[in-house]
Amino acid sequence: MVSDVYYLAEGDDSMATNRKMTEWLLGELPVLVEKGVIGPEAAENLRRHYAETGEDAAAESGRSLALALAACGVLGAALVGLGVILLVAHNWDFMTRPERAVTAYLPLVAGIGLTGWAILFRPQSTAWREGSAVFLMASVGASIAMVSQTYHILSDMTGFLLIWMALTGPLAYLAGSHMVAAFYWVGLLFFAGNARSRYSVDALLYWPMAAAMLPRLWMARRANPGGPWELFLSWTLAICLCVAPPIMLAGVCRGLWILVYSGIFAIMHVAARWQNPTGGFGRAPFRAVGTVGVAVFALILSSRSTWTGISGWRVEYYTQFHWLLSFQDYALAFGLQAVALTLIAVNRAKRRFDQIPFGILPALALAGFALAANGRHSANDAVMTFNALMFNAYMLALGLWIMTSGIRERRLARMNGGLALIAMLTFARFIDSDLSIVARGVAFILLGVGFLVANATMLRRKEAAR
């Protein structure tokens, strides 16, 4: 943090110094031309060059200011909106029902007025559009909640959240608000969780409603590829997609979550190459989540206890599984598998072999699931051990591949990522094994020495190359 602050301060200082030096140089140009040090043409070229650089800097500075203003606007609006919700939650007893109705409408009318004004008169101001739309979103929730409390009908949280999101989601498009889109995705998760806890089939509305906000991400990308709003929405969606399966899956058949998660992470890793394919993880949210997801999920599957928990094909027959919820479970599991396997085939056909180590996870998960589901009771032990060994081998191979490709491409972060994967695997196996403390100690020392030697060698090579 301190170094970031220092870097920013240093950045500001250097910008100011550059500006001063440019002004000095431009002031010197007539003298230099007069003395014949440079020709008039060269002087003109220099003037033009620094004028363009100055415009670029001014535009960049303007964008930063707009973003900072938008952040302040959204924060202010969100705080006021939350305050309104809390005031409503107090549920003032002294008010009569008509007074409550008027009070419920006050923030709503203010929010509509502000957002309408922002759309009509401040369409270019991100701060106005984002801030007013977030405030209106909070107001709609507060207004419906207050009216529902008046008639004691707020126990139906599922209906409340559904109506709230359905009424405010369009603001993401109409007011051009990215924050509303993010809150909408998160709000939908709460709706789905609430509906699922009541075994309500309405939970399935989550998928089409969440998908309805995808064009907003595409629009943010089109407006400014790789820009802050695209990244913000991408991070939000990627994280929401990780949280959604345990909420949405009805659990009609044990172990389907293995197929769902392996599919989601592999697809995110392989298919998200449209987003900053060569840059760091910070600017490629889907690839970052997919990569970390594959690694962590492979680690989970490398544990024998994961497989013993799902052994045998077990379908739960309870009345609470509406047939649509059961269909959703199978559709998600096998649909995601189909997409992931197709992606692997496409990458293989296009000879993009670097995608295969991560993309192969769903195929292995499907094989493991099929074996575990078919496992007869007597053969269960062997199957569980085989599955666990398969994923230990996969994770080790993945770690070694990442590490060696990092060394080959001289990318320190990548090499260390591979090493970290191997370390994670080792750590996990040492936790659930019966090896003595001494043996574990020695293994960790060896692993640590490996880390240090690999890093030192890599740094030396980089130095030599320079």
Partner: protein, 188 residues
């Protein structure tokens, strides 16, 4: 774009209004039923702003026809017991031809035994947070089997039901809680 926004804004204004109109109509023209209260499961994450209500044997209903799924919409007729308190009587998939009924959802249908349980759509009584805890305590003390002097009045009209008030010792719970709080403050 602005016209589309106006359409969305109109929907945002319409929803609270529709709730107000619907429930005001029930309060104005609905028939009043008394439901005897019973203690409720003490766990609830959102406590502090309302009193959670339970109703003595009111949720058990007669079920006829094909088995119901959990969460399925049902129409439940109301019956008044000899002691004057109401209870849910019979659940069906269509509204009854005559008499008052409440639209709600099925909780559990005990297959083959012709009875089941429905979810009560009026199980929370919202109050100001300063008195709600006191009111809840009073409710707990008075809804026990020994005392049984807590009950709720509910207005019912065309399948809709609104909780009108909750009474403890014959007094509205709001006033009861305030009196208890005043007595406590005076005692201190």
């Amino acid at each position: 774009m602005f016209l589309a926004f106006m359409a969305v804004a109109a929907a945002q204004l319409y929803v609270p209004a529709s709730i107000i109109v619907r429930y005001e109509a029930i309060l104005a023209r609905g028939k009043t039923y008394k439901f005897r209260a019973r203690p409720v499961d003490p766990y609830d994450a959102m406590r502090g702003r309302y009193v959670a209500l339970g109703f003595d044997d009111a949720t058990t209903v007669t079920v006829r026809g094909a088995r119901y799924e959990h969460g399925e919409t049902v129409y439940v007729t109301l019956a008044v017991k000899p002691d004057g308190y109401a209870r849910f009587a019979e659940a069906s998939r269509t509204p009854p031809a005559s008499g008052d009924y409440v639209k709600t959802t099925m909780d559990w249908d005990y297959a083959g035994k012709n009875w089941g349980r429905v979810i009560v759509p009026f199980d929370r009584y919202y109050m100001e947070e300063s008195v709600a805890p006191e009111a809840e305590k009073a409710y707990r003390e008075h809804a026990t089997r020994k005392r049984q002097d807590a009950y709720a009045t509910v207005r019912v009209l065309d399948g809709g039901a609104v909780l009108e008030n909750v009474y403890v010792e014959g007094q509205p719970i709001r006033e009861f809680a305030r009196t208890v709080r005043k007595e406590k403050t005076a005692g201190e």
